[in-house]
C-alpha cells in the first residue's frame, strides 16, 4: 500500500513547491512577505529556512514589477513562482501577464518560452470586503497563452501545482483562501496531475453539478442534501478551467441530462457562462432542462457578514436549484 498522509491544503501547496525546488534549482518563489513571514496565510512557512532568501525572495509591494521580473527570468533560464497575496491584485499585474507572459511565445514565433506560475487566492466570506475577496480567475481564462488551474482538494492542489511548475507555459494557479485548512489525503510519493483532466468527485445519475475550487465542497454538501431527497447528483470538477476537459463535462451532462454549473466568480461572462455553453453545444439533445448557472452575486463584495454571505453560492442555493431543475 502506498503511504498517504492527511495534509491541509496549505501543507499540500507548500510541499509541492518544496519538492519542485529540491528537484530543480531553477525554481524560485518571489512575492510580498513570503520569506520569514511565510505569506499572510502562512502557506510558505519554513521554506526560506530550507532554500534561503535568494530562492524565497521577498519583494517590495510592487506586483507589476516583480511579475515582470519573473517573466524575464522565466525567458532566460529560471522557473519563477510569483506569489500574489490576494487575487484582487490581479489588476496590478495584468499587463505583465496578458501582454507579456501570455504572448511572448507566440509573438516570437515560438522561440522564447515563459515557464512561470502565478499563484493567487480567490474566495469571499473572510470579511475582507470588496478589494480582498474577489474571484477573478475568469479574466485569465480569456487570454490565449495562459493556463488556469483551480484546485479543490489538497491532493489536487499538490499534483496540479507540480504540473504547473514543470509546465513550459505561464500558468495561473488560484487557491481558495478559505480552504487552506481543509484536510485531505495526499500520497507520500511523487505524483503530478495533468492539466485538462476533470475529476468526478462524486458519481451520480440524476443531475450533474459542475463545480470549481471553493464551490466543490459546496456542491458535495448540496449533493448530500439531494441524496436525502432521492436525487442522485454527480459532482464533477474540471480542475483546470483552461485547458478545459470539455469531453468529460459533456459526457456527464449526457449521462444525467440536467446540469448546474457553480463557480465563485461572477456569473456574467464568467466561468459558468463558458462551461454552460460548452455543455449546451455538446449535449443539447440529451438535456432535459436548460443548464443552470450559479456564481457570485453581481455586486462588489460587501463587508457586513450577512450581506457578504448573501453574495456567495452556498449548499442551500445549489440544493434548491438542483431540486427545481429535477422537478422536485
Amino acid at each position: 500500500m502506498p503511504e498517504t498522509r492527511e495534509l491541509t491544503m496549505a501543507e499540500a501547496v507548500r510541499e509541492a513547491m518544496a519538492e519542485e525546488m529540491r528537484r530543480d534549482p531553477r525554481v524560485f518563489i518571489c512575492g510580498e512577505d513570503i520569506a520569514e513571514a511565510g505569506t499572510v496565510f502562512k502557506v510558505l512557512t519554513g521554506l526560506v529556512e530550507e532554500f534561503g532568501t535568494e530562492r524565497v525572495l521577498d519583494t517590495p509591494i510592487s506586483e507589476a514589477g516583480f511579475t515582470g521580473i519573473a517573466v524575464g527570468a522565466a525567458m532566460t533560464g529560471m522557473r519563477p513562482i510569483v506569489d500574489i497575496m490576494f487575487g484582487d491584485f490581479s489588476t496590478l499585474v495584468m499587463d505583465q501577464m496578458v501582454n507579456q507572459a501570455a504572448k511572448v511565445h507566440y509573438m516570437s514565433g515560438g522561440k522564447w518560452k515563459v515557464p512561470m506560475v502565478m499563484r493567487a487566492t480567490l474566495g469571499a466570506t473572510r470579511r475582507s470586503a470588496a478589494q480582498h475577496s474577489q474571484s477573478l480567475h475568469a479574466w485569465f481564462c480569456h487570454i490565449p497563452g495562459l493556463k488556469v488551474a483551480l484546485p479543490s482538494t489538497p491532493y489536487d492542489a499538490k499534483g496540479l501545482l507540480k504540473s504547473a511548475i514543470r509546465d513550459d507555459n505561464p500558468v495561473v494557479f488560484f487557491e481558495d483562501k478559505m480552504m487552506y485548512k481543509l484536510k485531505g489525503s495526499v500520497p507520500a510519493e511523487d505524483y503530478t496531475i495533468p492539466f485538462g483532466v476533470a475529476d468526478v468527485k462524486r458519481a451520480g445519475t440524476d443531475i450533474t453539478i459542475v463545480a470549481t475550487s471553493s464551490m466543490v465542497q459546496v456542491a458535495l454538501g448540496a449533493a448530500q442534501m439531494l441524496e436525502e431527497h432521492d436525487v442522485s447528483a454527480e459532482v464533477i470538477d474540471p480542475r483546470t478551467v483552461w485547458p478545459l476537459d470539455e469531453k468529460a463535462l459533456i459526457a456527464s451532462a449526457k449521462k444525467t441530462s440536467r446540469v448546474i454549473v457553480v463557480d465563485e466568480g461572477y456569473g456574467r461572462y464568467g466561468v459558468t457562462a463558458e462551461i454552460a455553453s460548452v455543455i449546451a453545444e455538446g449535449a443539447f439533445f440529451d438535456l432535459e432542462a436548460p443548464v443552470k448557472r450559479i456564481g457570485a452575486m453581481h455586486v462588489p463584495i460587501p463587508f457586513s457578514p450577512p450581506l457578504e454571505d448573501a453574495t456567495v453560492p452556498n449548499e442551500q442555493t445549489v440544493f434548491e436549484a438542483a431540486k427545481a431543475l429535477c422537478g422536485r
Binding site: P60, S62, G68, I69, H105, W112
Partner: protein
C-alpha cells in the same frame, strides 16, 4: 621593440576599425529604415512602422559595448536595436512584411522582433513594458552566474510608466546587472516631454540609488565609450545603471505622421538633420583625424545599400505563412 609611435598607430587603427564598424551599423539602420519608409508608402508593408532614423548612434554605441550573449529588450521603435545587436536584414524585412521567413514567422511584425540567437528578448509595443523582462533577465544572469548583462532600451515616454520605477527599485536592492538606457528624443508620440516629465530625468534613477549618467546620443563614439564603462562595471557586479541618451527622432512618431508642425517646427527638425546627424558627425570626425577618407565611407554605403536591396527582394519574394499556422505557437 614597439615604439611609442607604433603603439599610437596601432591604437588609432583599432579606433578606426571600431568606428568604421559602428559607421557601417548606423548606415545599415538608416538605409533599412529608409527602405521601410519606402515599402510603407508604396503600400507594400502592412501595419505600423516607427522609424529610428536620427537615433542610430544610441543603439549602435550601446550594442557595440555588449557581448553577443548579452540581453537587450527593445521598443516599438525597435528596428535599430535589433540590427545593432546583430539581426540579419533579410529576416528583419521578412518579419516586417509578415512573411514565414521572418524572425517571428510573421507573427510578431515590426513591433515584436525577438531573436534568442542575438540575445534579443523582444521589442515591446507597450511603452515601458519590457522593463520587467530586462530586469528579470538580469536576475537570471546573476542567479545562474552567466556573466551576462541586460540592456533595457526605452524612450522618454516610458518615464511616465510606473513599472519602470518598480523594477529599478528592485534592480538596485538586488544589485542586478541591468542597464536602463533612456533614449530621450524629446517627444512622447506627438507631445514634447516638457509637458509630460516633471522635474529632472536623472534624479528619478538617483532616487533609487542608481548611478545616472548623460551622454550625447548623436555622438556614437561618446555613447560607445560611456556604455563600455558602464557594461564593464555592471558585469563586475556593481549593479544597475541609468544612462540618458539625448537624441532626436528625425521622422514622425510613425511613418504616417507627416504633418508635424502642430507639435514641432520644421526649423527644429532641420537643425538636427543638418547639424546633429550621427552619421555625419562620425564621418566628419574620422576625416578630420585622417582615420578614413570619403571614398571609404562611399564604399561602405554602397556595400550596405546592395545588402539592403537584396534583403528587401528576399522579403518581398518570400511566402506568407499558411493560414493553418495561425493557431500554432500559442503554447510551448
Amino acid at each position: 621593440m614597439t615604439t611609442a609611435v607604433d603603439r599610437l598607430k596601432t591604437q588609432s587603427e583599432i579606433e578606426a576599425q571600431q568606428s568604421l564598424h559602428m559607421y557601417r551599423r548606423m548606415v545599415m539602420i538608416r538605409l533599412f529604415e529608409e527602405q521601410v519608409n519606402d515599402l510603407y508608402t508604396r503600400a507594400l508593408m502592412p501595419g505600423l512602422a516607427h522609424l529610428y532614423i536620427g537615433e542610430e548612434a544610441v543603439a549602435v554605441g550601446v550594442c557595440a559595448a555588449l557581448e553577443p550573449a548579452d540581453y537587450i529588450t527593445s521598443t516599438h521603435r525597435g528596428h535599430g536595436h535589433c540590427l545593432a545587436k546583430g539581426a540579419a536584414l533579410d529576416r528583419m524585412f521578412a518579419e516586417l512584411l509578415g512573411k514565414e521567413a521572418g524572425y517571428c514567422k510573421g507573427k510578431g511584425g515590426s513591433m515584436h522582433i525577438a531573436d534568442p540567437d542575438t540575445g534579443n528578448l523582444g521589442a515591446n509595443a507597450i511603452v515601458g513594458g519590457s522593463a520587467g523582462i530586462a530586469t528579470g533577465a538580469a536576475l537570471s544572469a546573476k542567479r545562474l552566474k552567466t556573466g551576462q548583462v541586460a540592456v533595457c532600451f526605452f524612450g522618454d515616454g516610458a518615464l511616465g510608466q510606473g513599472l519602470l520605477y518598480e523594477v529599478m527599485n528592485m534592480a538596485s536592492l538586488w544589485k542586478l546587472p541591468v542597464i536602463y538606457v533612456c533614449e530621450n528624443n524629446l517627444y512622447n508620440e506627438y507631445t514634447h516631454n516638457s509637458e509630460t516629465a516633471a522635474g529632472d530625468m536623472l534624479t528619478r534613477a538617483i532616487a533609487f540609488g542608481l548611478p545616472a549618467l548623460t551622454v550625447d546620443g548623436q555622438d556614437v563614439r561618446a555613447v560607445y565609450q560611456m556604455a563600455k564603462g558602464i557594461v564593464d562595471r555592471t558585469r563586475s557586479g556593481a549593479g544597475p545603471t541609468f544612462l540618458l541618451c539625448n537624441t532626436y527622432r528625425f521622422m514622425g512618431h510613425h511613418v504616417g505622421d507627416i504633418n508635424r508642425e502642430y507639435y514641432r517646427s520644421k526649423q527644429e527638425e532641420q537643425m538636427w538633420k543638418t547639424e546633429r546627424d550621427p552619421i555625419h558627425l562620425l564621418t566628419d570626425w574620422m576625416i578630420s583625424q585622417n582615420l578614413a577618407d570619403r571614398a571609404r565611407f562611399d564604399q561602405i554605403q554602397s556595400e550596405v545599400k546592395s545588402e539592403v536591396e537584396k534583403a528587401v527582394q528576399f522579403a518581398i519574394a518570400a511566402p506568407y505563412p499558411d493560414r493553418d499556422k495561425a493557431d500554432q505557437d500559442v503554447y510551448a
